[in-house]
Amino acid sequence: MSDLLNLTINQQNKLIKESKISCEELVQETINHIKKYDEEINSIINFDERSAIDNAKNIDKKISDNEIKIGPLTGLPVLLKDNISTKNIETTAGSKILKGYIPPYNSYVTEKIMKKNGILIGKGNLDEFAMGSSNENSFFGNVKNPWDKRRVPGGSSGGPAAAVSAGFASYSLGSDTGGSIRQPASLCGVSGMKPTYGLVSRYGLIAFASSLDQIGPIARSAEDCGQILNVISGKDNNDSTSIKKDFGDFNKYINNSVKNLKIGVPREYLDNVDSEIKESFQESIKKFSGLGAEIVDLSLPLTEYALDVYYIIAPSEASSNLSRFDGVKYGYRSSKGNTAQENMSLSRSEGFGEEVKRRIMIGTYTLSAGYYDAYYKKAQQIRTLIINEFKETFKKVDVLLAPTSPTIAFKLGERTDDPIKMYQSDLCTIPINIAGLPAISIPAGFHNKMPIGIQVVGPQMGDQKVLQFANQFQQITSWHKHFPKL
């Protein structure tokens, strides 16, 4: 691959600003690269070469006519996870039930990126309705890890993470409900951030679990993630949970030293991780010590309950959110069934995949009469305790540091038979969503030539601090500058 496609957003932006490359050239080169390699990796579901080139030409013309100013994302090819609505462009959420669905409107983030003259290169493959940790639940086929095509890229944003790692886009947007940005970013060796809940509007994101879902960037550096947040964040009246707060530049503090700041390392996050991940993690701690940060060993005892709390709350919300797929107003409709009710059940049964049906069943069970108090209410009460535990901790430390994934990328098919084993892939990322915290996963080493990630976690609204720590780490390491040989 040409080095051009491995550059960060800032580096590509500089080339465009200095007229060393046109948007069309960058997009054309990206397209050539996708055509050569994505057939095998399968990170892109819907790829519209023609309109990407036309858009690039159009932007080049506007630049030369002085109609637009070149901003940080101008002319850069972006891949949007295919649960993010794009007007007049098929949006499937990786599901048979939405095959052929053409949204009549743009999501908030799509609109924001288009306004900044970003170029949509395609829609990223994902686990159906973002439910999965390996991208093996997509109706449109598995995504393969660019570092080793026998292995999974992680999930559910497997396509967006694999694509950024392989150079198929300058950056991508994913969604993170229990780790769906950070875990694949870790497994594919790129930087991926889940912002504070509400920082980015969910309008036009096909809902999975509304109290946990959050859109965020996947890119080649923490600084890039900050640049993207500058564009996609903000209060949106179409998402009543979006936050009204003026953060200013998300990269405002990235060059500030972390000297004398405190990093908490919660013991429980190392309990169930592979020994190679632990060893690599210790090396990362040494790097932060070298930067002058103070490392604080601490305990978050409720961590062990987070996975179960999540697997009650997320399926409960999903069972409710996914009730809209009835084959009436949009989506797949079965040709069978004599009554509306029968036709609806058949449409859903034929349209949803196995994992989605499993989660709808779990969620319906935990919300049903007689079980609500024992499951859903109990989980939301423990959620309160988990949130409080984090709050107390952040009185003592600035950020937390933990592994992102308990293992490196596993082999395709290795966990598909056992849902509980698959769910455990998100042990280290799930508690963060439960408490609505910001966290970024950044590359921090390799084992068996496969990338390892660490995550920096901040208090709510501490997104800038998270970026500061991540960028300081990336200034003294080069893990994020390694790219797979395709």
Partner: protein, 97 residues
């Protein structure tokens, strides 16, 4: 924890999903195993703990009571399978009997 076939059928019905019950032992078994895991949560004392209503403590999000149109009729119906007189057509709601 074992889920009985009757219970499974009841939940499937509430979920508006149809399964071939006889050939779904693994799914029934997996559900039982997943629900068993949740029993561990009963160990935690949650007396007087309020369930989380919103993670960033958002209370009310109000707006002026003004109507607005986001999508027009044509756009709203653009993905429906069958339309008749600008309405979505579906199979009959009641059976003949």
């Amino acid at each position: 924890m074992k889920i009985s076939k009757e219970e499974f059928e009841k939940i499937a019905n509430l979920s508006a999903l149809k399964f071939d019950i006889e050939n779904n032992d693994k799914l029934i078994d997996d559900l039982g195993r997943i629900l068993s895991r949740f029993q561990s949560l009963q160990k935690i004392d949650t007396t007087n703990v309020a369930p989380t209503a919103h993670v960033t403590n958002l209370v009310n999000s109000l707006r002026e009571d003004k109507d607005s149109q986001i999508l027009n009729e044509k756009d709203v119906l653009s993905n429906a399978k069958e339309i008749n007189m600008q309405q979505v057509k579906i199979p009959r709601v009641f059976d003949n009997e």
